[in-house]
C-alpha cells in the first residue's frame, strides 16, 4: 500500500534543509479500538534513510514516541543545485516507501 510522502528542500544559509512528511498512523500498540475494545497493534516507521546522489548521508530511527504522520527535518551540508536527494522508509510491518527530489 502506497502512503503519501511529501518532501521539501529549502536553502538555509550555506546548507540545505530537507523536510519530509509521511502519512503514517504511528500506532503505539497501547491504544484501544473504541468499537472492539481491543488493542490496536503497534505500527510505526522504524527507519528512514536519506541519500544524496545515492550515498547514504543520514539515517533516522523512530520508535512509537514519534507523532502520527511524522515530519522529519535534517540538513545537508554538502548539497548543491542539481543533486539528487532520495528518502526511503520502512516500518515494523514490512511496509516501505520512497521519494526522490532534486536540489534546486
Amino acid at each position: 500500500m502506497a502512503r503519501t510522502i511529501k518532501m521539501k528542500i529549502k536553502k538555509s544559509g550555506s546548507e540545505y534543509r530537507v523536510l519530509v512528511l509521511v502519512k503514517h498512523p504511528m500506532e503505539t500498540g497501547r491504544r484501544k479500538d473504541k468499537k472492539t475494545g481491543k488493542l490496536v497493534p503497534a505500527h510505526y516507521i522504524e527507519t528512514m534513510t536519506f541519500s544524496l546522489n545515492g550515498k547514504l548521508v543520514a539515517e533516522a530511527n523512530m520508535g512509537t514516541g514519534v507523532s502520527k504522520n511524522p515530519l522529519l527535518g535534517i540538513s545537508l551540508t554538502a548539497a548543491k543545485p542539481g543533486d539528487k536527494v532520495s528518502i526511503h522508509w520502512a516500518d515494523n510491518k514490512g511496509e516501505s516507501g520512497s521519494v526522490e527530489s532534486v536540489v534546486k
Partner: protein, 153 residues
C-alpha cells in the same frame, strides 16, 4: 503490574518478529539495525546507556527549540541545532513517556547537526536531547508542559 509486563513482552516480541521479517525481505537494510534495546527501554537512562554506552556526558553545545507548553501532547514539534564538530548521532528522549526514546538520527558525512521531529508526550516531562560528537555525548534539556496527553489516546 502483570498487565504492564504483558505489554512489554508483547512489544518486545513484535519487534523481534518484524526485525527478522524486514531482514528477509530487504537484506540491504538489515545491516542498519534498528536499536531495539534502546527503544524498548522503559527508563530514559537505560535508553541512553543502550545507545551511547558509558560515554562521558557533558552539557551544552545544543540548541533545542521547543514549546514551553504543548496544548496537544500528540504532536510536540522539536527543532534541534548544534554547531558541535563531528556530530555522529542525535537522540531525543522524553523522560516520562512509556518508552522514553522517541527517535534518533545517525549523521554521516554530508549531513549536519540539525534534526527536526514531532514527538508524542504522555504528560508534562523533561525532554532531553543527546548529541554524540567525537567521543563525548552532549546533552540539552527542557521541560515541556502538556495539557492533553498524546499516548494511548
Amino acid at each position: 503490574m502483570q498487565r504492564r509486563t504483558f505489554l512489554q513482552n508483547t512489544v518486545a516480541g513484535a519487534v523481534l518478529v518484524t526485525a527478522s521479517g524486514v531482514g528477509l525481505l530487504n537484506p540491504r537494510k538489515a545491516q542498519a539495525a534498528w536499536p531495539k534495546a534502546a527503544f524498548a527501554a522503559v527508563k530514559s537512562k537505560d535508553s541512553v546507556k543502550a545507545l551511547f554506552g558509558d560515554a562521558e556526558i557533558v552539557e551544552g553545545g545544543i540548541t533545542l527549540k521547543a514549546p514551553l507548553q504543548a496544548e496537544n501532547g500528540a504532536v510536540v514539534p522539536l527543532k534541534i541545532t548544534t554547531s558541535l564538530p563531528n556530530v555522529e548521532e542525535i537522540a531525543v528522549v522524553v523522560e516520562k513517556n512509556p518508552f522514553p526514546l522517541t527517535s534518533r538520527l545517525k549523521v554521516f558525512p554530508g549531513s549536519g547537526g540539525y534534526f527536526a521531529v514531532r514527538v508524542k508526550m504522555a504528560k508534562t516531562s523533561k525532554v532531553y536531547v543527546y548529541v554524540k560528537a567525537g567521543d563525548k555525548v552532549h546533552v540539552a534539556a527542557q521541560e515541556i508542559k502538556v495539557t492533553i496527553g498524546g499516548c494511548g489516546g
